[in-house]
């Protein structure tokens, strides 16, 4: 057991009595999954956090060495199960990069539409659970949670009519996508995102002039620009700390270059900055989906349509690291292939793993209530943390 007393980095000058060590354990309403933080308290102030993870370690990387390139994408969607589309995206991109498979234009556009819809759905869940964690402060615990899940259901209906599944899809395959959008889907999609656009303004009005919300998020859990890069956090956390880096803009993949969208950046680096970045990302995602739907080219949806047997995709020897801008940050898949139908080694770069590793560095010094707010703003998903 880590003896916390001698390894605490932030030493508060505390002349008071002993410290209370407490479990914010695996089963905790605001744990966002199975995360155990052994919190050392002095009264209300947190002195040290020892994060214990691994409660959802499902041997993804070892299993990926036993599953072929056609089998693994649907398992890949179980790493970041809140944004299943972007998880599969990374694996498939890496396999295509090694095998130099050409992905038809329509498939690239479909992938962009689906990834941005997934970002909207994932951010809705983030906003809902975060506001529920800070529940009492926002007047009624589950108000915003129920609203956000109501909107998220609309997006899940779109996915259900497109892929047939609500949460985990096998939509991506090496060389393109597995399904094409049914007719009438595009129109339904436009209506849904228009509705969500108006609802997002509602939520902003509800939150941004709520004194409790501002008091609990501004100045809480600040991450400096240097610390952000040093620990390797990504996505909204990085852009919340002032680093203007978005993989869709800096390293465009899957024809993201054809769409114009702006990358929201805040400099404060606290929970409120991350909140502003994600709310702006809602609107950018809606804009991208609209543009992609308008300019969706015709054509095939996969360059390897006749995928009959499972082990049909053989990838030549080589290695590649493909990165995708997931809702939580950079999701990457580093594949080393040895020419057979299964990868030799597959490393999954989960955005939440690095994002979570910053908690023990920024939480000491905050109150116990702030721990919940900070963890909500980091928005970890434990399929991606524990892999």
């Amino acid at each position: 057991m880590l003896d916390v007393n001698n390894t605490t980095r932030v030493e508060m000058d505390w002349s008071g009595p002993e410290r209370l060590q407490m479990n914010m354990g695996p089963q905790h309403p605001s744990a966002h999954g199975v995360f155990r933080a052994i919190v050392t308290l002095e009264g209300e102030t947190v002195v040290a956090v020892d994060a214990v993870i691994g409660y959802l370690h499902r041997c993804h990387e070892k299993l990926s060495e036993t599953l072929t390139y056609a089998q693994y994408p649907s398992i890949a969607s179980k790493t970041d199960y809140v944004a299943a589309m972007t998880s599969e995206f990374a694996y498939v991109l890496a396999a295509e990069e090694i095998g130099k498979f050409e992905v038809p234009k329509r498939a690239q556009y479909l992938r962009v539409i689906v990834a941005e819809l997934q970002r909207i759905a994932s951010h809705l869940l983030w906003l809902g659970t975060w506001c529920m964690d800070m529940g009492g402060a926002l007047g009624g615990g589950a108000t915003i949670f129920l609203y956000c899940i109501r909107e998220r259901e609309l997006v899940l209906d779109l996915f259900e009519s497109l892929v047939g599944a609500r949460l985990l899809y096998g939509f991506f395959q090496v060389g393109g996508t597995r399904y094409d959008i049914p007719d009438g889907w595009a129109q339904a999609c436009r209506e849904t995102i228009a509705l969500i656009d108006s609802r997002i303004d509602e939520y902003e009005e509800m939150l941004e002039d709520n004194a409790f919300f501002l008091a609990r998020t501004q100045g809480v859990g600040t991450v400096s620009r240097e610390l952000a890069q040093d620990v390797g956090i990504a996505g909204p956390l990085l852009r919340g700390s002032g680093v203007d880096f978005d993989i869709r803009k800096n390293v465009p993949y899957s024809s993201y270059g054809d769409f114009d969208f702006s990358v929201p950046v805040e400099t404060a680096g606290d929970c409120y900055a991350r909140y502003k970045v994600r709310m702006a990302e809602f609107r950018q995602a809606i804009a991208i989906v609209r543009q992609a739907l308008d300019t969706l080219p015709a054509g095939p949806i996969s360059s390897r349509p006749a995928l009959k047997s499972v082990a049909q995709i053989r990838i030549p020897k080589g290695e590649a690291y493909a990165r995708v801008e997931g809702p939580r940050g950079e999701v990457g898949s580093y594949i080393i292939s040895d020419g057979s139908a299964k990868p030799y080694r597959m490393k999954w770069r989960g955005a939440s793993f690095s994002n979570l590793s910053i908690l023990p560095l920024i939480i000491p010094g905050h109150k116990v209530a702030d721990v919940v707010a900070i963890m909500g703003s980091v928005d970890p998903v434990f399929g991606e943390v524990d892999r």
Partner: protein
């Protein structure tokens, strides 16, 4: 420092041939591992620590791979070092990048590589009582674990 300059300076200072390409792959001997990381962070300007992992090449032993990025000039460096057969010790990058803390603990958990200079070298994903390191090629996928087999 953009990609070409980085490639040239890395090749000159470390005397290794760096192939062109999006991630500049730099392979060095294990003892120069921390020096390479410090060089990447200070001179090449790769302050963003992407990830660190290891690969088990069966007989040729383990290889530690780290990826760092310079976000402003879009320079990506893939730092590699082969530990040689049977060697399970490696220099730790935590003094250079604080993000390496958890990544190295995971490498120890999965491959058994002990990183010297790491403040808190214990398993991160599996329980501390777990025996064996799962991601080694010698470890079968569904090795039974007593109570819940």
């Amino acid at each position: 420092m953009n990609a070409e300059q980085a490639r040239a300076s890395l090749a000159s200072t470390f005397g290794v041939e760096v192939a062109a390409g999006v991630p500049l792959v730099v392979t060095v001997a294990p003892e120069r591992w921390e020096a390479l990381a410090r060089y990447a962070k200070d001179t090449v300007g790769c302050r963003f620590f992407n990830f660190l992992t290891a690969v088990d090449w069966k007989e040729q032993g383990l290889e530690v791979v780290a990826r760092v990025d310079n976000l402003d000039e879009n320079v990506a460096l893939m730092l590699k070092t082969k530990l040689g057969p049977g060697v399970t010790r490696c220099a730790s990058l935590t003094p250079v990048y604080r993000g390496a803390n958890w990544m190295e603990r995971e490498c120890f958990d999965m491959f058994g590589i002990r990183f010297d200079g790491h403040p808190d070298m214990r398993r991160i994903l599996l329980e501390d009582t777990w025996e064996g390191h799962p991601l080694l090629k010698s470890y079968a996928v569904d090795t039974p674990h007593p109570p819940y087999r």
